[in-house]
Amino acid sequence: MNRQRLRLGERAIESAIFAGGVAAIVIVGLIMFFLFREGLPLFGNTSAAGFFFGKKWQPSSEPPQFGLLPNLWGSFLVTLGAAVIAVPLGVGTAVYIRYIAPRRLAGFLKGFVELMGAVPSVAVGFVGAVALSPLIKDFLHLDTGKSAIVGSVLLAFLAIPTITTIAEDAMSMVPKEYFQGSVALGATYWQTIYRVLIPAARPGIVAAIMLGLGRAIGETMVVIMVTGNAGLLPDHGVWHAFTHSVRTITGTIGAEALEVAQGEPHYQALFMLGVVLLLITVAFNSLAVTALGRTRRTART
């Protein structure tokens, strides 16, 4: 009798744990569901083509225009700039920590990079807006400090901790026989690092870069504070675009979501932007996870 009650209690607890276990799946499903639920009615008001191929984002014009393309372009531009800066710096720092720095310095740097990853983006955006933005404006003789390039620099520093930590992890998984074999054949340390160890860790490094850039493209506060949240599709080349204001997906949502009422087309369009952003980051993450799986397999062989 007692035994049976025990078993019943155990079973109840197990089902509760099961429910908690699958909560992550349920939450991801709910996020998708609510983005679509609030966003999709937009296409009852305007055409899907007007959103996906629209070249203008002008919510207050008559009729209002909710074009995805300028937002997508801006997000692409600032992330591209961030990648140019963050990939060499992030991977280079990982190489330094893993292979070159003295042990104590390496330990300190690892802690420092972790701390750097914890800095709230709103604080980074603040320093960017009041210090970096005027600096770059004067240095490049720009009309405005609120430009894509400032956003790129700041996003790079938000992406670097992710890139460095995961790339360093991937490098640590390379079997040490690779190192021993290469050095035994007469290669210098640097040749070994450059020709053997980094290539062996490449899938993991690619994953690190994808995850870092995934973070950059979804970052909101920094781009709201320094990129001006305005801009059209480029018509004067890439450098011109970098040195002027841009409108990013995250910046548009963040800056405008507080001003809209539930159910109006503008509100729906912001949720559709959220859908697009979510799909982009899911794509980045899936690529990263695939690449990480490949590293683990290499490490085992």
Binding site: V28, G218, T220
Partner: protein
């Protein structure tokens, strides 16, 4: 002759290595120095302003001078409720993954969901919180239970902010708890079950207590992350200016990160030392929590008896 050649070649290889090492060291410096500059800027500009008055007084409506007391209290409320929501769910999720799930397809799916949840941009969390908690759940409470047309729960407030942030930090809590549980040796489980304890008894009496310090480390990690998040709470909880303290979960509240954003972007005559001081308080708190995590981790690693 050939010996000399070999010698020269060796020299050039060593030289190449020296140059390459120097270049890589410079890259590391190029990452560290700007960040030190960022910390230095905030500390230098803000330190003189951070004093007892600043921490305990209300801000002025005109230029945000005065203090940040309501923002500190608001953030404290929000963090407490976020942790209360996220910890049980996260620990249960991790217990499922490590103790019950095994290698089933469902576990693979749960893990994929956690990775994707961790990658969801914070502003998307904000939209989700707004659409799901504020408008759907809160709006339904107003419409069906309270039968009012004036929003009571159907507007941003601490409860919805905490729900949203709990979703944001859930992957962090699950991951750190999972690592903590995995670090408990298998022999603990076998020993307990050999003595006749059921699986749940083993988990509750043996595994969770053994993993508790590291689970708490994960909680601190979650607190650090939740404190600095701006985008999710901007849409679900934060008040831009509200000098009275929150009275309950249904109140909007001022929050540190949103206060910084608001003052920097919307209060043109705010002084630099005010803005920097807000940033300094925010960063100090987040940095403190992340240093605590690093210290706790190394302490537990050393103290582990198995």
């Amino acid at each position: 002759m050939s010996l000399v050649l070999a010698h020269n070649k060796r020299d050039s290889r060593i030289l190449a290595q020296k140059l390459a090492f120097a270049a890589v060291a410079l890259i590391a410096a190029a990452v560290v120095i700007p960040i030190l500059g960022l910390f230095g800027f905030i500390a230098f500009q803000g330190a003189s302003k951070v004093n007892w008055d600043f921490l305990t007084k209300n801000p002025s409506a005109l230029d945000a001078s005065g203090g940040i007391f309501p923002a500190i209290i608001g953030t404290a409320w929000l963090i407490v409720f976020t942790i209360l929501l996220a910890m049980p769910l996260g620990v249960i999720g991790a217990v499922y993954l490590t103790e019950y799930g095994g290698r089933s397809k469902l576990v693979t799916l749960v893990r994929a969901a956690i990775v994707n949840l961790a990658g969801v941009p914070s502003i998307v969390h904000g939209l989700f919180g707004l659409g799901c908690f504020v408008f759907f759940v809160g709006g339904s409470i107003d419409r069906i239970i309270l039968r009012t047309s004036k929003p009571v729960w159907g507007q941003p407030c601490l409860l919805w902010g905490a729900c949203t942030l709990a979703v944001v930090i859930l992957p962090i809590v699950i991951k750190s708890t999972e690592e903590a549980l995995a670090a408990v040796p298998k022999s603990f489980r076998e020993g307990s079950q050999a003595l006749g304890a059921t699986k749940w008894e083993t988990i509750r009496r043996i595994i969770l207590p053994a993993a508790l310090p590291e689970i708490l480390t994960g909680a601190v990690l979650g607190i650090g992350r939740a404190t600095g998040e701006t985008a999710p709470v901007m849409l679900t909880c934060a008040a831009s200016f509200k000098p009275t303290l929150p009275q309950g979960l249904g109140d909007q509240a001022m929050l540190l990160p949103y206060h910084l954003y608001f003052v920097v972007t919307q209060v043109p005559n705010a002084k630099m030392d005010t803005k920097s001081a807000i940033a300094l308080v925010l960063i100090s708190f987040v940095a403190a929590s992340s240093i605590v995590v690093i210290l706790l981790r190394s302490k537990f690693k050393k103290a582990r008896k198995w």
